[in-house]
């Protein structure tokens, strides 16, 4: 015989209190690693942060005034802006490659494995190996030399270094895009593509009228994720390949914050720059939440 329904107070325990208990460790972790640091960050950005026996001191907007007058800060922002050019390149290449793989060419699984491989290899290893390949007399320039082109000093010249880093970022991030787009295409009902194929639509018209509309949510997701990456997840590339040089030509906002905080130990200045970066990125973070909710609502 089924038992009589639970008494009211047990229902209350189960429905109101238990979820909080289950989430308690998560909430503690999030509070410790995200919320408390964020609150402190805002506090530091208005302080000259002391250490040891030197007390911290409230300085109003001085830190912000300093960074907005610092040409290096703007140079860093501009470099992040340049890196944003990777995003359309990545989207275009990923679309083409995902479409090719989706056509189930023979051996597509093997191709997929290798295309995705760069995304697995760590940035320091990638950066170091590319550092050798892009040396003035490295593999890249030898290859160019054999067809009669004198290559530049890729990472050693202040006008080329940021572009070289862009190439490495595209090399590494491309596999991720291909994988995301391919996963999306596989999740679309097969008959849609079949219909287009039977209608005799060519590669281009299938891409334009069937594939791209189906890919749209994945493209939007990838665009947002990569934009956030270019603005705020490229520290390791810079740290390993150029350390911001030559002549500060590859300093990005993360590296600027790192230098101010950990090399010049002016934590207040670093915090102010971090708050500024956060302001830029938060728009994108909101876009990301909106997108996730929309995709969920569609039930894709």
């Amino acid at each position: 015989m089924p038992r009589i329904p639970h008494p009211a107070h047990r229902d209350f325990m189960r429905l109101r209190i238990q979820p909080w208990l289950f989430c308690a460790p998560l909430l503690v972790g999030v509070a410790l690693v995200f919320l408390w640091p964020l609150v402190s960050l805002f506090r530091y950005s208005f302080q000259r942060v002391g250490s040891g026996y030197i007390a911290s001191e409230f300085v109003g907007f001085d830190n912000f005034r300093f960074i907005y007058k610092d040409p290096l800060f703007w140079k860093a922002i501009a470099n992040n802006g340049t890196l944003l050019l990777c995003v359309p390149i990545l989207i275009a290449l990923s679309t083409i490659l995902a479409t090719l793989l989706f056509d189930r060419v023979r051996g597509w699984r093997a191709y997929r494995t290798f295309v995705f491989l760069p995304y697995i290899v760590s940035i320091p290893v990638v950066g170091i190996v590319f550092g050798y390949l892009f040396q003035k007399n490295g593999l890249v320039n030898s290859a160019l030399g054999s067809i009669g082109i004198t290559g530049p000093d890729w990472l050693g010249s202040s006008s080329w270094a940021i572009w070289t880093i862009m190439a490495v970022i595209v090399w590494k991030e491309l596999g991720f895009g291909v994988m995301v787009f391919l996963a999306r295409l596989i999740s679309v009902p097969e008959d849609l593509f079949e219909a287009a194929r039977i209608d005799g639509a060519g590669w281009w018209s299938r891409l334009r009228h069937v594939v791209l509309p189906q890919l749209a949510p994945a493209i939007l997701f990838y665009a947002i994720v990569e934009t956030i990456t270019m603005l705020s997840w490229v520290f390791a590339y810079i740290y390993v390949m150029t350390a911001g040089g030559p002549g500060n030509s590859t300093v990005v906002s993360e590296y600027y914050i790192y230098q101010q905080t950990f090399q010049n130990t002016v934590i207040g200045i670093g915090a102010a720059a971090a708050v500024t970066l956060l302001a830029f990125v938060s728009v994108l973070i909101l876009a990301r939440i909106w997108l996730t909710r929309r995709v969920e609502a569609l039930g894709v």
């Binding site: 089924p2 189960r14 238990q18 979820p19 289950f22 998560l26 999030v30 690693v33 995200f34 640091p37 402190s40 960050l41 530091y44 250490s51 490659l97 060419v105 191709y111 295309v115 995705f116 491989l117 760069p118 697995i120 290899v121 290893v125 990638v126 170091i128 190996v129 590319f130 390949l133 593999l139 090399w171 491309l174 596999g175 995301v180 996963a183 590669w203 997701f221 990838y222 603005l231 705020s232 997840w233 520290f235 390791a236 740290y239 390993v240 790192y258 905080t261 950990f262 934590i267 971090a274 970066l277 956060l278 990125v281 994108l284 909101l286 990301r288 939440i289 996730t292 995709v295 894709v300």
Partner: protein
């Protein structure tokens, strides 16, 4: 060029089905092969040169080694530091992955399977935190860690990695837990199993692939992380492998086979994991786009 070739064959081979498309197929293969080649060039350079002696590298920097030697691999480990860094990375990655998966699984249960209003809000917050720039957190975290005198400790870094992984892991597990068949949970409920019991003996066992997915993605992230490792582990013997390889490079940068052997050591664990558990990697890394 390509389209013209396509048109010609179109007319000539109308009867035979598949061969009609062969120039198109060839072109597809050429494009894919070019991309694969580009993807493999650095890895090729790394592996072939790790197999050479220093002398051979000087005369033959790009070709296949004439007589391959594993000497550089041994030399790379001989200093002892690379092994130490490998161990550090292993301990830190394993501890953070286990902790964050456990915490995330516990939290994902009510978020995915209970009707709980604050859960929707919590999930939105987690999505926002997932993409928060790490540098923004590192500045205050460093100060806070220094205040409690925990710089240069395993536990501070493990705590930070665990915390940073939580939003992603929880979010992913929520979307996987939602696919657990409701009938299973319902029958457990009728049998009188509480929520904790249902999580432990129903949700977790059927979600093993999901847990593997989350764990592999987390492991990849922690193993390859640089910024936090640079800032929080400054003493030489606590370095993780990823920071270690940059030290290794600057110390031996003239002996390229040695440096490349170090790079291969640093790459093997994750590439091996990837080749073994490919579907988990792919599922985990693309989950955000395809499923919410």
């Amino acid at each position: 060029m390509a389209s013209r070739a396509g048109a010609i064959s179109d007319g000539a081979l109308r009867v035979a089905g598949p061969p009609r498309y062969w120039p198109g197929r060839l072109l597809k293969h050429l494009v894919l092969l070019a991309v694969v080649a580009a993807a493999l060039v650095p890895l090729y350079f790394m592996v072939v040169n790790a197999l050479k002696t220093d002398q051979e590298y000087l005369s033959n920097p790009y070709g296949i080694p004439r007589d391959a030697t594993l000497g550089a691999f041994g030399d790379a480990l001989r200093g002892g530091e690379l092994g130490r860094w490998l161990l550090n990375s292993f301990v830190i990655s394993a501890a953070s992955v286990i902790l964050s998966t456990a915490i995330a699984a516990l939290a994902a249960y009510p978020l995915a399977l209970m009707r709980w209003r604050p859960g929707t809000w919590l999930l939105s917050i987690l999505i926002a935190l997932m993409v928060l720039p790490p540098i923004v957190l590192v500045v205050p975290l460093f100060q806070l860690t220094a205040d409690v005198e925990q710089l240069n400790t395993y536990r501070s870094v493990i705590a930070i990695y665990t915390g940073l992984l939580l939003p992603f892991s929880t979010f992913l597990l929520v979307s996987f837990f939602r696919t657990v068949p409701r009938e299973l949970l319902e029958s457990a409920r009728i049998d009188g199993a509480g929520h904790l019991r249902r999580l432990w003996s129903i949700v977790l066992p059927v979600s093993l692939p999901a847990l593997a997915t989350v764990a592999t993605v987390q492991a990849l992230w922690v193993w390859n992380e640089v910024l936090i490792a640079v800032v929080f582990l400054q003493s030489e013997d606590l370095r993780t492998l990823m920071v270690g390889v940059t030290i290794f490079r600057s110390r031996y940068h003239l002996d390229i086979p040695l440096v490349m052997a170090g790079m291969v050591w640093a790459t093997i664990p994750m590439v091996a994991l990837y080749l073994l558990l490919q579907r988990f990697f792919i599922r985990g890394l693309t989950a955000g786009a395809v499923k919410g």
